[in-house]
């Protein structure tokens, strides 16, 4: 593929006046998302100011066969917004308006560049909030959340982005603008929203989203319990679930990450082998009643310490400790690699055992922070980038952990996405036929393969045309050949 021509760039400037960045140095700013080891300088960067400009840009790209990559605020951890060196990076940061707030119907309409937390800030005076709360919520964009189907610490009870988006305006990869879903429930026809959300920018570009709001729970109680082993903490989680309680959040940290968080933000966590954070929310009468069960269960399971946060300040301190865990690793290790994998919750103990063996074998320290309620692990592999070969070694260790997740019947990503980073693992988790079925969807939305190419799928594929009804080839009929 050839670099973008001066004539194409001229047309791009007309499509989004004042929005094109073609200066080589400025384009460097966009060379990666938050997964910084994957880099590519985009052929051009365009920052549209309206949905119409997004559409004009995509139309132009489609007309010229130029690949494009949509980018929100660049906080993704899988290289989903890694630019195409000969394509256009469409930055959506300027589409950052909250368009409509409808409290009576618990709906809000926003542009894709609006920051997740800004929605909650806007509706908080009405006692409402937007539920999905990824750790990056103060900086990540709603468009990016839709692309990745973002979750957060509270998705155990409240679900993911896919449970909270009702309607999106999108520009399809051929430049057609359309609406999928509806502000009222049960949009007719196929559930296109269900498949679009989490498609990592490969099916089109969102220009507006209508989201569901929730009413702030009346009561929130948070418990911090210290355990002398990860296994006993895990037993406590199983027991809570056996008691029929679905907490709003259940988080676990091991000693290494506790120490790191302590060094960074002093949350005053117990110095035990593991801590468990359990949060219940809901009506006062319900939370008070169920919380006594949770507290008793933790003690019976062998909690060494139990602290209950009964006011927002105490709760904020606990969450600050948890949310600081990633960044805090920088205090105890020059570099670290964040992995994202999922195991069935009941296999946590088995998989963590394998990770501990791997730690001993590899000589690299591995911290563990995870959403214990849903089995989403975030092993943090510590290494020193100045030591030759150690970064590669850390990557191998991270890769081996993903294999453990697959072996346990889990998934290669729970919330960071496949992106450019994990596409090779897709064929370890899915059979060729499964990937082919996903490719059918891709081809229906984007037969030219221009929307965020090279992501999500393990190998690039072309879409054959399907003009009219299927006619079996004689070789097919004889069972000698199969058509994709």
């Amino acid at each position: 593929m050839a670099p973008l021509t001066p004539s194409f760039l001229d047309q791009l400037r007309r499509a989004a006046p004042g929005g094109v960045i073609d200066d080589a140095v400025e384009r460097l700013t966009y060379e990666s998302d938050a997964l910084v080891h994957l880099r590519a300088v985009p052929g051009a960067v365009v920052l549209p100011s309206s949905a119409a400009e997004v559409q004009a840009v995509v139309r132009l790209c489609h007309a010229h066969g130029v690949p494009f990559v949509a980018r929100g605020h660049g906080t993704g951890l899988s290289g989903g917004a890694l630019p195409h060196p000969e394509g256009v990076l469409i930055g959506l940061a300027r589409l950052n308006r909250i368009l409509d707030v409808d409290i009576a119907n618990l709906r809000v309409s926003v542009e894709p560049g609006v920051t997740n937390l800004d929605i909650t800030r806007r509706v908080a005076p009405f006692g409402c909030y937007y539920a999905p709360d990824p750790s990056s919520q103060s900086v990540c964009s709603i468009g990016g959340n839709i692309a990745e189907n973002s979750g957060g610490a509270h998705c155990l009870k409240y679900g993911f982005t896919v449970h909270h988006v009702l309607e999106v305006d999108v520009v399809l990869p051929d430049g057609t603008a359309t609406t999928i879903g509806s502000a009222a429930l049960d949009s007719p026809g196929l559930d296109l929203l269900g498949v679009f959300i989490g498609s990592e920018g490969t099916l089109g570009v969102v220009t507006r989203a209508t989201l569901r709001l929730l009413r702030r729970p009346e009561a929130v109680l948070t418990l911090l319990a210290g355990f002398d082993s990860i296994d006993t903490a895990g037993d406590a989680v199983s027991s809570i679930i056996r008691h029929g309680i679905v907490p709003a959040a259940v988080e676990m940290m091991d000693r290494l990450t506790i120490d790191a968080a302590e060094a960074a933000v002093q949350p005053n966590f117990p110095t035990t082998a593991a801590v468990l954070i359990v949060e219940l929310d809901g009506p006062d009468v319900e939370v008070t009643d169920l919380f006594s069960t949770v507290e008793a269960v933790c003690r019976r399971a062998g909690a060494v310490t139990v602290e209950v946060a009964r006011d927002p300040a105490q709760r904020d301190r606990i969450w600050k400790g948890r949310k600081a865990a990633f960044a805090a690793m920088g205090r105890i290790s020059p570099n670290y690699y964040v992995q994202d994998g999922v195991v069935p919750r009941t296999k946590l103990s088995e998989v963590l055992g394998r990770i501990r063996d791997l730690e001993a074998r590899s000589g690299l320290r591995i911290g563990n922070v995870f959403h214990a309620g849903d089995g989403n692990l975030h092993p943090l592999i510590c290494y020193d980038g100045t030591v030759a070969g150690q970064a590669e070694h850390a990557e191998q260790v991270a890769s081996e952990i993903l294999q453990y997740c697959i072996d346990a019947g889990g998934a290669i990503t729970g919330e960071h996405g496949v992106g450019a980073d994990k596409k090779a693992y897709m064929s370890k988790m899915f059979a060729p036929a499964d990937l082919d079925a996903m490719q059918l969807v891709r081809c229906a939305f984007d037969p030219s393969g221009l929307s965020n190419p090279g992501k999500l799928f393990p190998t690039p594929r072309l879409c054959g045309e399907v003009p009219g009804p299927y006619r079996a080839h004689p070789a097919e009929r004889a069972g000698l050949a199969e058509r994709f």
Binding site: N105, R107, T179, L190, D191, G198, P283, A411, I412, A472
Partner: protein, 380 residues
């Protein structure tokens, strides 16, 4: 319609039957227990390819609150098995049918308020496609963003893309206790205003159902024994000020209230519609109905903007009402679906096309190029 349905015994058999049909040009129509088949009539002479023999491979991962259920198993059977571990698949459509049918129609019931519809609970799927292959998507863990979410694409697809052979769902613990507040109101406005008040952060009912024109609300609390009782009392106190009468029902009395609610539309002949609008547009819907010269009856998810509406009477009058509702729903960012209706009625009540119908048709064309299966639902 062809007399004898094809009943594959395995997913591979099902895929082979679909592939054979693609080669010979036969028309097939996925079916389960036949519970909702009439909701989307297939104008073709299609033979049923049914899931009723696909009953093996039930797996309950109780500690993970997840279960894989074969498509041919009924919801009732699945839930009786799950109950052994104090869990359930929290779906309560008025007529349960098979798991495959439930996924294909994305049907739900009153507890939708708390638990959502099949698309909100599904975490993995296995389907047989017309190219002869059996494919899987998602997995058996609740949190998973690896690849496209084909599970949700199949929810509500009415068999247009393939035959669902099994599905994996997130489960819920069975509630420790349940009680229901039944309140009677003077009119739609009073009932709907009351519904909005009880569905708030201090009560969190699992269902808020409206019966009209009786103007009755059923508000259900399912949680711990103590909390359910306290919340029902709280709701009752709130409703006293607005309602003509309020009662709290429990145990067999409560079960009876809900059984009657589930059956109240099913027993009526005539046309059954689903009307969906923004929640605040519900009350004017009833204003439209009060002018109608037909018998009508509504069971509605009062705070979600979803109403199931049975109409009886003169066909021409029913058409007028249905057209009026279609127009009204459209103006309030919603839509109407015809569930039970004769072909002539369907023809007389044109429903607007989905703005994304072209994408739906493109997906259909990719999954089923030989058009073995029924068309995309509402993809007009």
């Amino acid at each position: 319609m062809h007399a004898d349905p094809m009943l594959p015994a395995t997913a591979d058999d099902a895929a082979a039957m679909l592939r054979e049909a693609a080669i010979t040009g036969a028309a097939l129509r996925p079916g389960g227990q036949g519970t909702r088949t009439h909701w989307r009539p297939d104008p073709r002479e299609a033979r049923i390819v049914g899931s009723s023999r696909l009953v093996d491979g039930f797996e309950h991962y109780a500690g993970d609150l997840v279960a894989t259920v074969p498509a041919g198993m009924t919801l009732i059977e699945a839930n009786s098995r799950l109950a052994a571990a104090g869990q359930w698949l929290p779906l309560d459509p008025p007529r349960a049918g098979s798991i495959g049918g439930l996924v294909a129609t994305n049907d739900s019931g009153p507890r939708r308020l708390r638990h959502g519809t099949p698309r909100d609970l599904i975490v993995g799927i296995e389907v047989a496609l017309t190219d002869g292959r059996v494919v899987q998507a998602g997995g058996r863990v609740v949190k998973n963003v690896a690849g496209y979410d084909l599970s949700r694409l199949f929810c509500g697809s009415y068999g247009s893309l393939g035959l669902v052979t099994r599905a994996t769902f997130k489960l819920a613990p069975l509630p420790q206790a349940s009680c229901t507040v039944v309140a009677q109101f003077a009119d739609a406005e009073a009932a709907l205003a009351a519904a909005a008040v009880v569905d708030g952060p201090s009560l969190t009912p699992s269902s808020v159902e409206m019966q009209a024109p009786e103007w009755r609300l059923l508000v259900r609390f399912e949680t711990s024994e103590a909390a359910a009782a306290l919340m029902a009392e709280g709701a009752s106190a709130l409703l006293q000020r607005r309602a003509a009468s309020v009662a709290i029902v429990r145990d067999s009395q409560e079960a009876e209230v809900w059984r009657d609610h589930a059956h109240r539309l099913a027993t009526r002949r005539g046309v059954l519609l689903k009307v969906v609008v923004l929640p605040t547009a519900m009350s004017r819907l009833f204003a439209l109905l009060s002018d109608a010269r037909v018998h009508w009856s509504v069971s509605g998810r009062a705070t979600l903007g979803v109403a199931l509406l049975a109409l009886q009477g003169d066909d021409a009058q029913i058409v007028t009402v249905a057209r009026g509702l279609t127009q009204y729903a459209r103006e309030h960012r919603g839509h109407v679906s015809l569930l039970d209706a004769a072909d002539a009625m369907r023809a007389a009540v044109p429903l607007p096309a989905s703005p994304a119908a072209a994408v739906m048709r493109a997906i259909k064309q990719r999954f089923d190029p030989a058009q073995v299966l029924p068309g995309v639902p509402d993809g007009r």
